[in-house]
Amino acid sequence: MEFIQYIGENFTDLLSLAGTHILLVVAGICLALIIGFPLGIIAAKFEKVAPVILSLTNVLQLIPSIAMLAVLMLYFGLGNLTMTIGICLYSLMPIVRNTYVGIKEVKAGILEAGVGIGMTSMQVLTKVQIPLSIPFLMTGLRVAVVIAVSVACLGPYIGAGGLGVEIASGINTLDTMKIYSGVIPAALLAIIADFVLGKIEKKTKKRLA
């Protein structure tokens, strides 16, 4: 009961925190897609650079999230921009890897057929390989979004917004209400995003099957 009352009193605040949280995630993921998708294609097209790109994104993943954000903070200052860059770097690996795998997984026979009907290699890429790799990309996107929601919770430590603000102030004041009202929306956000993107992923797989 107390909890519902607390939520009712602070509803607008919580809503704006959740809004910032979602915006941060969307901005970071968009940035990661803009960078990661071409990187994945390059890795798949040019075998020689593939190990470099893939291991580089892997190493990024190995850095603890708070440490990555702290290092970024040294160069980009406090605020939402740093958080967006951090989310982008952290969700790069699943996107690059899955784009790479998706394009690699297209069967040689299908490629041959594309070449056979007179497609240029650019056309094979845009009309055959990329559409067929969409389900893989969706898998990567789903993983990336879950990671992004988690990383975005660290906002308060580098001066960004998001639901982490509520969680962090709850931890610092040992206020159970605050902890719950930050944790539950954040967890729900991650679970719902995972669920919805999972459904979309299944749909794209079915369409191609």
Binding site: L62, I63, P64, S65, I66, A67, M68, A70, V71, M73, L74, V146, V149, S150, V151, A152, C153, L154, Y157, I158, G164, I167, A168, G170, I171, L174, T176, I179, Y180, G182, V183, A186, A187, A190, I191, D194
Partner: protein, 220 residues
């Protein structure tokens, strides 16, 4: 040049406290990993014998959801139940280790050729003997790779344990953010990556050694 001498000086000054942070970090991660291995692997083996599909699916979806919850949210969630300090950190890290360990052990044992298990049954092995002598060794590479990835991730997540007052290298980073101190931030980051890489190499060695011994012993 100045930067390097500065940094060396920093290490000389802070040698003790950095070592204490490293030890705390390793203790938290180690306790969480050992707990997870001791509890989750038997659970996974039990699940492979379970007939009830519904319970199995429920356990898998719960562990899936646990994995989705943001790290800091999980740590914060432990505070009302376990207070601050060592306990909530270990509990949260343990919950994160559930899914990778469960999935690897389960699929490792499921991947064993059923005819091998059948022939063991025919030779009069009891259920317990089958698990210990046939299934565990055959699924060992899977189980070990589960433990390896889990350990590496737990070392990285343990960095956040500092937020709930458990200490560890995260303290160094949080303090570094507070003072805007590059040396603290980089020390905390690099040490945690080094610990993770070191653990990965050590566990890889252990895996190879055990596999070698096993192969040597099974030529009878």
């Amino acid at each position: 040049m100045n930067v390097i001498t500065d940094y060396i000086e920093y290490w000389q000054d802070r040698y003790d406290s950095i070592l204490a942070y490293v030890l705390q970090h390793i203790t938290i991660s180690f306790v969480a990993i050992v707990l997870a291995v001791v509890i989750i692997i038997p659970l996974a083996i039990y699940m492979t014998k379970m007939k009830n599909e519904k319970v199995k699916n429920a356990i898998f979806s719960i562990s899936n959801i646990l994995q989705t919850i943001p790290t800091i949210a999980m740590l914060a969630l432990m505070i009302p139940f376990l207070g601050i300090g060592f306990k909530p950190a270990v509990a949260a890290l343990f919950l994160y280790a559930v899914l990778p360990l469960l999935r690897n052990t389960y699929s490792g044992i499921k991947s064993i050729d059923q005819s091998i298990v059948e022939s063991a049954k025919g030779m009069g092995f009891s259920a317990f003997q089958r698990i210990l002598i046939i299934e565990m060794p055959l699924a060992f590479p899977y189980i070990m790779s589960g433990i390896r990835t889990t350990s590496v991730y737990i070392i990285s997540w343990a960095e956040l344990a500092a937020v709930v007052g458990a200490g560890g290298l995260g303290d160094l980073i949080l303090a570094g953010i507070g003072f805007n101190d590059k040396k603290m931030i980089f020390t905390g980051t690099i040490l945690s990556i080094l610990i993770a890489l070191f653990l990965d190499v050590v566990l890889g060695r252990v895996e190879k050694n055990i596999l070698k011994k096993h192969k040597g012993g099974s030529t009878i």
